[in-house]
């Protein structure tokens, strides 16, 4: 009984200490003078975190938009409102699916790669040798990856939504024969820039921040063994997914729940 209680207590203390460490890690990485050649390092990371995630984002966005178009048409046609398909596809993507699905895909593609890369750099003493050369790995290795993640995620979410709307157009207008004038007109009338687009961008910024933070911290904090890196990579995907879904509910409640 006491063992059980002390184990719970230890787990609680460990969790609090991880939260504290991750906070200090974030401040040390981002505050102060950036590393020499930061801009070049950032461009390199924007390529590997952002540009290399484009394919999975575009393909997923297209299919999700097409499915939304098909399902939406099947439901709306019963009420003779299939012209509203553009409005439905756009609002669903911009408000919810764009930021959320992009964040989940980002955690799986870029987040896991960031964790494994930093974890392996730690295991092979590359971070230690950087410290001994007098270079702070938090500024040199971690900071460019963090910033690249913050910048990439909102852009990827926007691309996802745009491609998704195109997918909905392909199915609704080109395949199922909805009049394209009403497809676009309904969308223009119902999608509000501040209410929908801006809130979607804010959501994706928050998700980008959280997913990248979790990914780089898990890599930096991983045990320097093959098993340690494997556990850290799994944690990145699981924690990021749960954080995104949980935060999505909170943000939606604040933005659209009239709280």
């Amino acid at each position: 009984m006491f063992d059980w209680i002390s184990q719970w207590g230890r787990s609680g203390l460990d969790a609090i200490s991880v939260i504290g460490r991750s906070g200090i890690f974030l401040f040390r990485s981002l505050l102060g003078r950036p590393a020499t050649g930061f801009f070049g390092l950032l461009i390199k990371q924007l390529y590997s975190v952002g540009v290399l995630s484009l394919l999975i984002i575009i393909v997923s966005g297209l299919f999700i938009g097409m499915v939304l178009g098909l399902q939406g048409y099947n439901i709306l046609v019963d009420y003779g409102s299939e012209q509203a398909i553009g409005q439905m596809v756009a609002l669903t993507l911009v408000r919810e699916l764009g930021p959320v699905v992009t964040a989940l895909l980002f955690a799986g593609r870029a987040g896991s790669a960031l964790t494994a890369e930093i974890g392996l750099m730690k295991a092979t003493e590359q971070l230690s040798s950087m410290e001994m050369i007098g270079v702070d790995p938090l500024r040199r290795v971690v900071a460019p990856r963090l910033v690249a993640g913050f910048i990439s995620m909102p852009l990827l979410a926007m691309i996802f939504s745009v491609v998704g709307v195109w997918g909905g157009l392909l199915v609704g207008v080109d395949w199922l024969g909805v009049y394209d004038g009403s497809f676009w007109a309904n969308m223009q009338q119902s999608v509000d820039f501040r209410e929908d687009v801006l809130n979607g961008i804010i959501k994706s910024c928050v998700f980008g921040f959280v997913c990248t933070w979790i990914a780089v911290f898990q890599g930096y904090d991983s045990a320097p063994t093959s098993e340690g890196i494997s556990i850290a990579t799994t944690k990145t995907v699981v924690y990021s997914s749960l954080a995104v879904l949980g935060l999505d509910f909170i943000l939606t409640a604040v933005m659209f729940g009239n709280l």
Partner: protein
């Protein structure tokens, strides 16, 4: 920066533990300036840990470590990074940056700490690579190098800023006899021509004794002997003679602490 003392590193009453395991117990070591000092001892006695303590990557539980007159454990994170610019460390694994070529690895410290023009960086990098015999391998990536070559590139990288203190962690492991002879010569000449203080961690009794001016023997969390190689060889301490002669029986245990073998074997069952 240096005080009147002739010691570049002064470790006084230092204690360090990992969990429940005491690695150093009230250890006092002085490393003279401008000399080659070899730290020797059985595996698992914390020789690499000692280098990490000197480099400030680990903090002692008690006692102090003065490097060039600065208490390393008391420095702020930023001050520590500045202090490390005067140190070079050769890691056991080499620890080259896997995304940079051999040339870029050696040029890395110059690029981040100096604003030298590119042609001068090229000259310095090629000179350092030439010193370790790998000028021709400058276009290779670390994944294309053998273990011994990796450490030689890492050595070139660690001396590229001409540090005041060089720490070598097992520099001779995995080297062929030709490379070993060259490394011994290089470590010695760095010391004599540039006046670098060198700390060498090695198992290789013969090579270490031949190039070092001063030897510190560590076992069981304590310093079991220190002095010049000649003085150590003349010592009659059983601890020192056991290690220097590689004898399995003696006061330094070969086995990691465990219960008696007979009772362990007779326990039976599958419990590990």
């Amino acid at each position: 920066m240096l005080e009147s003392s002739e010691n570049y590193i002064q470790i006084t009453g230092m204690t360090f533990a990992r969990g429940d395991r005491l690695i150093f117990d009230n250890v006092t070591i002085n490393i003279p300036k401008g000399k080659v000092t070899a730290i020797m001892g059985p595996s698992g006695t914390g020789k690499t840990t000692l280098l990490r303590l000197i480099g400030g990557q680990l903090k002692p539980d008690s006692g102090e470590i003065l490097v060039a007159g600065q208490n390393i454990a008391k420095l702020s994170r930023q001050e520590l990074f500045v202090a490390r610019e005067r140190m070079g460390m050769l890691f056991q694994s080499g620890a080259l940056f896997s995304d940079l070529s051999v040339y870029e690895n050696v040029a890395f410290p110059l690029r981040v700490h100096t604003s030298l023009p590119e042609d001068m960086i090229r000259d310095i990098v090629l000179m350092k690579l030439n010193a370790v015999g790998l000028r021709g391998a400058r276009h290779l990536m670390p994944s294309e190098l053998s273990g011994g070559m990796t450490r030689r590139v890492a050595l070139a990288r660690s001396i590229v800023l001409d540090p005041e203190l060089m720490m070598y962690d097992e520099p001779f492991a995995g080297q062929d006899p030709i490379a070993m002879g060259m490394l011994v010569k290089l470590i010695r000449s760095l010391n004599t021509s540039l006046g670098i203080t060198s700390v060498l961690v090695s198992h290789d009794v013969g090579e270490s004794m031949s190039i070092s001016d001063y030897v510190v023997l560590i076992a069981d969390g304590r310093v079991i002997g220190q002095g010049t190689p000649k003085a150590l060889l003349e010592q009659s301490s059983p601890l020192v003679t056991q290690f220097l002669n590689g004898l399995p029986d003696g006061p330094v245990p070969f086995h990691f602490p465990a219960e008696d073998l007979a009772s362990d074997m007779l326990q039976g069952g599958t419990r590990v």
